[in-house]
Symmetry: C2
Subunit: 378 residues, 2 copies
């Protein structure tokens, strides 16, 4: 399913190909986030034109609205949203912990009330896998508990052990049901990724990774990052997890990050990324460039004929000036955030395309340090 | 500039071709409204794919934001917004009367403070023409006073006389400046339309139309409609104005209307229309169909696999179900209002395309009465 095609000699960066039911993903890969069954402000056609290889769907959001009955009736998530490429779905755990009300975690699973209408619901490791099978995910994630930051060691250790038992139950469900053909998945095979937890404790990260590898998954995610911790601790959590992960399986750093962070994570052996920054910041008027972000609301852009970024081949930069996009943002016109969203997604996708190229040609190290050096951090 | 190519035998409906600096407009024509330099939620590329022939820009809004300096510096409105088809601009008068604060109307013109930041400004007939020349409009409208509804006869008569004098001043400005080549209009020729006023008084409408024709314009608009009056009075205002307008010039019914109203207005000899209904209602989840509007928020659509309208060739109906679009609207996702906007604009543009066909083949009367009969009014 996963094939490494190149390995950087000066870092842990790798280039690979992950085969899913809906197509091949060249890694390192960025996955645009389609929380509620749409990458915000973007159409599936635009995603295809941006060469997005895979998108992410949020199980919790889709479970709450429109609900599984609707998606099942419409033929699964791919058909519902008219996206025929690969889809990765999370387990729903992260949103239950961050959004839902009245959560109660037990060994069995999580009781919660959703944040939209307060309807009570229960999700277990088995139910999380079943929901993702109903959605028709190409890559499903195990249910985990994602502890907040900061987190006491005792809590992290206890939580991690339950997360490991939950991962085992997910694996058992998959093995018992892997040949089960749902109406929406007559031919398909879902890949399942485990999620390494352990907060900021190196030994717990190692313990978690080893336990998951022992169970055996199609890929491994580093979770419990992007929860408010400083960048240094985030990098360390990845560094502590990675050595225990098998080289021949894809690694996914969840919910990350800024452009320089992505390259640093690629250098630390990570292959897949998802992040709301390109879409979320776009809706606030912020665009990514090779030298840092631009806030297009600023008056300095009012008269500028040039595009957001010179030489950029995205649909916004090919056709529109900074002055026009600034006007749209100031006037709160939807086209403004549409154009910046397209630019930002192109920027992230193109960054990963270049990383793949540079790893393939052996030029990753110099390119990475030049990019990170040129990028102004806010 | 305007050529009639067919005339319905059972009504005043006409088919024609209006030539502008940026292309030919087949009439009857619907003009999507691009208030602030963008048809809300739609890109220029999408407008071209919808076969929009001409779009409308609002002079007042563009004057207030981003301002003429920006648009002049960026090379005129076409280049600023990346639309190379024809653009009609209004004079700004209507918005000054409906949006601006502290208006003071004198024979000279209108003093006002804009609704965004309160900056005081003054607009006269001459300034309105100059602004539209700077924008680079293909069709400019004279400055008029648009009285509210209801309106006393005395006010309507007095206002109308000033509007006529203003129209004369606009014509004089154009004649004095028509060969003037601005940086943005090296080759172009602006068409100028007069605006018939007279509120709901048949004789004032006739007086207004005759006075404008005496001055002589490239086309004639019926203004002072779509100001809250009942449909019957709106139709009557058009019927009272139309007989005084020359057959060989285009007629533009301003700010109208619903789909059946458009056909009724075509039957009354109107050629051009602009209306915010397709875009504004879309943002509220309402879609147009041949049998009336659908509110896609309604629960009945939650499980429906079919498109908004069977057989519709718009980008939303070709690819997406009612169930998905309903989900997007309920979840307040931008893609939802984008898709309904595309559908609604397609509906209006297609309605006018069919009207042109039916006038050309002599089948307008039966088609019109069938459409109006099938369309459920809310």
């Amino acid at each position: 399913m996963f094939e490494l095609t190149a390995q950087d000699s000066q870092s842990k960066a790798r280039r690979g190909r992950l085969t899913t039911s809906h197509g091949v993903i060249e890694t390192p890969a960025f996955m645009p986030v389609g929380t509620q069954g749409t990458v915000k402000a973007v159409s599936p056609r635009e995603l295809r034109e941006l060469n997005a290889q895979i998108i992410l769907g949020n199980t919790y959001h889709l479970f709450v609205r429109p609900g599984l009955d609707v998606i099942r009736h419409l033929g699964g998530l791919h058909q519902f949203i008219n996206w025929d490429g690969p889809i990765l779905t999370d387990s729903g755990g992260y949103q239950i912990f961050s959004l839902a009300k009245l959560r109660k975690i037990t060994e069995d699973g999580v009781h919660f009330q959703n944040h939209v209408d307060g309807t009570p619901a229960f999700i277990s490791p088995e139910i999380a896998m079943e929901i993702q099978a109903t959605l028709g995910s190409d890559i499903a994630m195990v249910l985990d508990e994602c502890p907040p930051w900061p987190c006491e060691r005792d809590y992290a250790a206890t939580s991690l052990e339950m997360t490991t038992r939950w991962a085992e139950r997910c694996k058992q469900w998959i093995e018992a049901n892997i040949e089960r053909r749902t109406p929406t998945r007559a031919h398909a095979h879902t890949l399942v990724f485990g999620i390494v937890q352990g907060a900021t404790f190196d030994d717990l990260r190692k313990q978690s990774a080893e336990a998951l590898v022992e169970i055996g998954f199609d890929g491994y995610a580093v979770g419990g990052v992007s929860v408010g911790e400083p960048e240094e601790l985030m990098m360390r959590a990845v560094e502590a997890s990675e050595p225990s992960l098998p080289a021949d399986k894809p690694r996914y750093a969840m919910g990350l990050g800024t452009p320089p962070q992505l390259l640093e994570l690629v250098a630390r052996g990570m292959d897949m990324f998802d992040c709301v920054l390109p879409t979320r910041l776009a809706r606030n008027g912020t665009a990514f460039t090779a030298t840092g972000t631009l806030n297009l609301k600023n008056a300095e852009f009012a008269m500028q004929k040039k595009p957001i970024e010179d030489g950029c081949e995205c649909p916004a930069c090919r056709e529109f000036s900074r002055a026009y996009i600034r006007h749209l943002v100031k006037a709160e016109e939807i086209l403004g955030l549409r154009l910046i969203t397209l630019h930002n997604l192109h920027f992230y996708l193109e960054l990963m395309r270049q990383a793949r190229d540079k790893i393939g040609t052996g030029d990753f190290a110099g390119w990475r340090s030049a990019f990170v050096g040129n990028y102004r951090r806010d």
